[in-house]
């Protein structure tokens, strides 16, 4: 029997991180790590970086392998038993189309960012943590593609996600968000992705999507989702750690970080409008409303977090109050816009059922029946009269978040919100003060934004007609887009359910 004493957690962590680094001698450290100083963040002692989980590579491999084994056992079972037939309703599938189109390749972009950091951080602790996270992120992209490939055999909208991510107009929202972060310096990237996104906001993606998937009978998505989320808990911890580390290194860092927190809170919050819409409209069986989720995960949990960070001199992100004002309208405005651009989407849209509208009226007592139900009812009547609303006019987009300017004034939900500014003689337009402030902080960056509407008009998107642009974007016109009613998905679903019912009777 071996008598070797097992290393303690702290000791092992020291050996497996600090023990792997060295001071370079052939080249000065500043040249080896050229991205360390241009953002203005001052680091005096990299050894102060502590990974609270003290996870080392050997333990990482062990646990990740275990997670993948569990995941693939379930995916195999799901596929072998035609798990897609157990979902609540085929409309549900559109929420995972949105996930695959908008989030999966964002995970890949996060991977790219952490690979860069895994090389470029001067401190060994954060470098090792970034390398692990880079592997997590590519694992997420791969397992999501793998899990959802089963749905691609049976439903529209799953086939061209790579092309769509680069070209389909509304996917420039997540794409530009991640590219904004990737083109920032390493400390801003961490504040953007690890702190603002992972710590403050990611719960609002994974918890509702995955609980929603569980509730709607989608075992494949629940499984990859919770498997990914088990990594997210570590990412969140790193996000909080990086903020504390930078704040403790030098008081000069605090205003810089606060500016990034303001920017990336707003950027992330705007991107989450897609999730708000998914929660309230795309899940046939609903878990909680966007408004409840925002209260739970941002107002309460975020409130406690910023109260804790106040000891460093941080405050709540700017315009957090606007997000609270918008919580009763966020999902409704987004779904209405997507419905009305339903001919140009890579998924199906629909008018909610009357039971769903009752749920919304209950969850949104101060807004749904006053502002949003009448619009849905009118569209419903039009649709029944054979005049389904398909807007063919291109939207004005916000220069920063790239979302059509559908948001309303914080204090007046009946008035569209519009901000504009000039820079070097050119005019720029925004959906909100939040986005306008971000532009003013770094105009030389955002004047380069690739706005899909403008690209179409410049002739860079496959042609001038909507049909040509959609084809160029990877959409199979007449299959992937348009209303759920009358879609291939609806027809197939009814046929399969009928067949299953008949088979059960015979048995």
């Amino acid at each position: 029997m071996s008598t070797t004493k097992k290393l303690g957690l702290r000791e092992k962590y020291r050996l497996m991180t600090r023990g792997l680094g060295w001071e370079t001698t052939y080249q000065p450290m500043d040249k080896v790590f050229p991205y360390q100083s241009f953002e203005g963040i001052k680091i005096h002692d990299w050894d102060k970086w502590e990974d609270p989980f003290r996870l080392t590579m050997d333990a990482y491999w062990k646990y990740q392998a275990e997670k993948d084994r569990k995941l693939y056992a379930i995916l195999d079972a799901f596929n072998q038993h035609n798990g897609h037939l157990n979902i609540s309703d085929a409309r549900y599938v559109n929420s995972i189309k949105l996930f695959l189109q908008g989030i999966t390749l964002s995970e890949y972009n996060a991977h790219r960012g952490f690979v860069h950091l895994g090389r470029q951080f001067r401190g060994v602790g954060p470098r090792v943590a970034s390398q692990m996270q880079a592997l997590d992120e590519i694992r997420h992209a791969q397992t999501q593609i793998h899990a959802l490939s089963h749905y691609n055999k049976y439903f529209s909208g799953f086939h061209g996600f790579q092309g769509m991510y680069d070209r389909l107009w509304y996917l420039s929202v997540p794409k530009s968000y991640f590219e904004d972060a990737l083109t920032a310096g390493p400390f801003e990237f961490l504040t953007a992705i690890s702190f603002s996104f992972e710590y403050v906001l990611t719960n609002l993606i994974f918890m509702p999507f995955m609980s929603g998937a569980a509730y709607n009978g989608d075992m494949a998505t629940v499984t990859f989702g919770f498997s990914a989320q088990s990594d997210e808990a570590r990412h969140m911890t790193m996000g909080l750690e990086v903020i504390k580390f930078m704040a403790e290194q030098d008081p000069d860092n605090i205003p810089i970080i606060q500016r990034w927190m303001d920017k990336w809170f707003w950027r992330g919050y705007r991107m989450l409008v897609l999730v708000a819409m998914m929660m309230d409209y795309m899940l046939p069986k609903k878990v909680m409303s966007w408004s409840e989720a925002w209260e739970m995960y941002f107002e309460q949990a975020g409130g406690a977090l910023f109260e804790d960070l106040a000891r460093y001199g941080f405050r709540m992100p700017k315009y957090a109050d606007v997000s609270v004002k918008e919580k009763d309208r966020y999902s409704h405005e987004a779904w209405a816009a997507l419905y009305h651009y339903g001919a140009a989407a890579g998924l199906h849209t629909w008018i909610p059922t009357s039971e769903e509208m009752e749920w919304m009226a209950e969850k949104y007592p101060n807004s749904f029946e006053q502002f949003y139900k009448p619009r849905l009812d009118y569209w419903d009547e039009q649709q029944k009269a054979g005049k389904r609303m398909y807007c063919a006019s291109l939207p004005q987009l916000c220069q920063v978040c790239q979302i059509p300017a559908w948001f309303t004034e914080p204090d007046d939900p009946t008035q569209l919100c519009h901000r504009e500014t000039e820079y070097k003689g050119e005019t720029y337009h925004f959906c909100s003060d939040g986005c306008c402030d971000i532009f003013k902080g770094e105009p030389e960056k955002y004047i380069q934004a690739r706005l899909p509407t403008h690209q179409i008009y410049q002739g860079n998107c496959g042609g001038a007609s909507i049909e040509e642009v959609l084809k160029w974007s990877g959409i199979e016109v007449g299959h992937d887009n348009l209303d759920y009613l009358g879609s291939d998905d609806q027809k197939n679903w009814e046929r399969w359910k009928h067949q299953t019912a008949v088979e059960k009777k015979i048995a």
């Binding site: 303690g8 989980f53 994974f206 918890m207 629940v222 989320q229 088990s230 504390k244 309460q300 949990a301």
Partner: protein, 95 residues
């Protein structure tokens, strides 16, 4: 209230861990969702290795939590014997 929480997947292996957390943190609130259990508390949540081992009837490394974790809020403090979530500084926590 200084809200903290830990959310775990609801599966066979995680249930003894969930029960141990509930035992060790009697003032915590337990919320159950499809596929997930969220345990909330004010100020501090501790997961103790010894309690989990008592339920699992085997050795258990607090790092095994990684397999079942969904989300957490709070500062993390981990040792060979405990996994703790807290607000405030590490020094304040150790008091």
């Amino acid at each position: 209230m200084r809200l903290l929480y830990i959310a775990l997947q609801e599966n066979e292996e995680a249930l003894p861990i969930i029960d141990s957390i509930i035992e060790d943190n009697p003032s915590a609130t337990v919320r159950r969702y499809p596929g997930m259990v969220r345990i909330e508390a004010d100020g501090r949540i501790t997961v103790k290795r010894a309690t989990v081992e008592g339920r699992l009837m085997r050795d258990w490394d607090p790092q095994e939590l990684h397999l079942h974790l969904i989300s957490i809020a709070g500062n993390v403090h981990e040792t060979d014997d405990e996994f703790t979530l807290h607000w405030g500084t590490a020094e304040e926590m150790e008091k």
